[in-house]
Subunit: 194 residues, 2 copies
DNA sequence: GTCTATACAGTGATAGAC
DNA sequence: GTCTATCACTGTATAGAC
């Protein structure tokens, strides 16, 4: 698969459209024709940029993970304390959800993982690995500096926080009533700090 | 839509097969032919029992919610303390996940909610409503009896707990490394009780 | 890079016989 | 309740011209 940094400008428009469709409808919920209509070209032109649907989705996930890592770096540069970093992290999910209730690309693909081409599955698992590792480090640092309670263990908290954010997007969009990732993060961090 | 308690024995086998397919692959990831092959009959026979795919999925979600409510009642009958009830609740998710890493039917459908027929969407939102209400009541009772910390507020905790369980199934299945709903629930309840 | 045309499998769904 | 046969349509994907 081509790396997203090497693709043309028209291919980028295809990736943008596919990303939105995946967040709204999932991998099995959109077609090349949907992408073509959004971009304003014909279906075979999409195949010119991405030979298979799996290639396209893998590129979407790859770029999504890359952008997330950029944001993680930005958070480290802007916030020193663990609690502030975790709050800024939660805002990444809230900002995504704020655009037409879009889901996390990898949360959506994660739900569909058993019906995905192998290349996509790999990118999705990498996203979760990157995020869990980063959260675990932030939390462990915060515990060591006594900014956070020493228990539960950092990695367990990291997995729980990530799961709560991913789940919050899904439950909120379906139930209408629930308060979304921001609310869930707030509740979680309250418990973590108290 | 017909209520699931009124359908025939052969229709029940169809619902069983569709339920498993939804948990593994999602609404947009299975076809009438997949169901037919699992049940051992032909595609038009599925249509005889459920005119549309939406009818079938709605019945699956309806029965799933009903069974969940039976389990909630059973928990109330077996456990008096809030913490025990919450742990037993988490076990419902863990037991589902333990069967070939099956997702919660409504967690999966919730992710796909923007590409679902209206009848299915309605059943999914009802599932989340039932679960959030029950959890909020259990937690509020526990807080009143001083078995749980008085903050955060019961409904906020209920939404967060449910989101964490739904998210844990998705993240664990995709990442391989994470510890599943049981681990996440354990971590969450530790924070809640400490 | 985009197009028209097309291949070909699969999709949800229906008609009508047994 | 199940079947064969068939429908109209959409799905991913390819060939080849511009």
């Amino acid at each position: 698969m081509k790396h997203f940094s090497e693709i043309s400008e028209s291919a980028l428009r295809v990736v943008d459209a596919a990303e939105g469709l995946i967040q709204q409808r999932g991998y099995n919920g959109f077609s090349y024709d949907d992408v073509a209509k959004l971009v304003g070209i014909k279906k075979p032109s999409i195949h010119h940029h991405f030979a298979t649907k799996g290639d396209l989705a893998a590129t979407v996930a790859q770029r999504y993970t890359h952008r997330f890592r950029e944001q993680l770096l930005r958070i480290e540069g802007h916030h020193a304390k663990a609690a502030d970093r975790l709050a800024a992290y939660a805002a990444l999910f809230e900002n995504t959800y704020a655009i037409d209730q879009r889901l996390c690309v990898c949360g959506m693909l994660g739900a569909e993982v058993n019906s995905l081409p192998a290349g996509v599955t790999h990118e999705v698992s990498r996203f979760f690995e990157v995020n869990t590792d980063w959260l675990a480090t932030v939390i462990a640092d915060g515990q060591r500096a006594q900014q956070l309670r020493p228990l539960p263990e950092a990695r367990a908290l990291a997995e729980t926080f990530l799961a709560a954010l991913e789940g919050a997007m899904i439950v909120s969009r379906s139930s209408g009533s629930a308060r979304g990732p921001a609310g869930v993060a707030h509740t979680f961090l309250l418990s973590l700090l108290a």
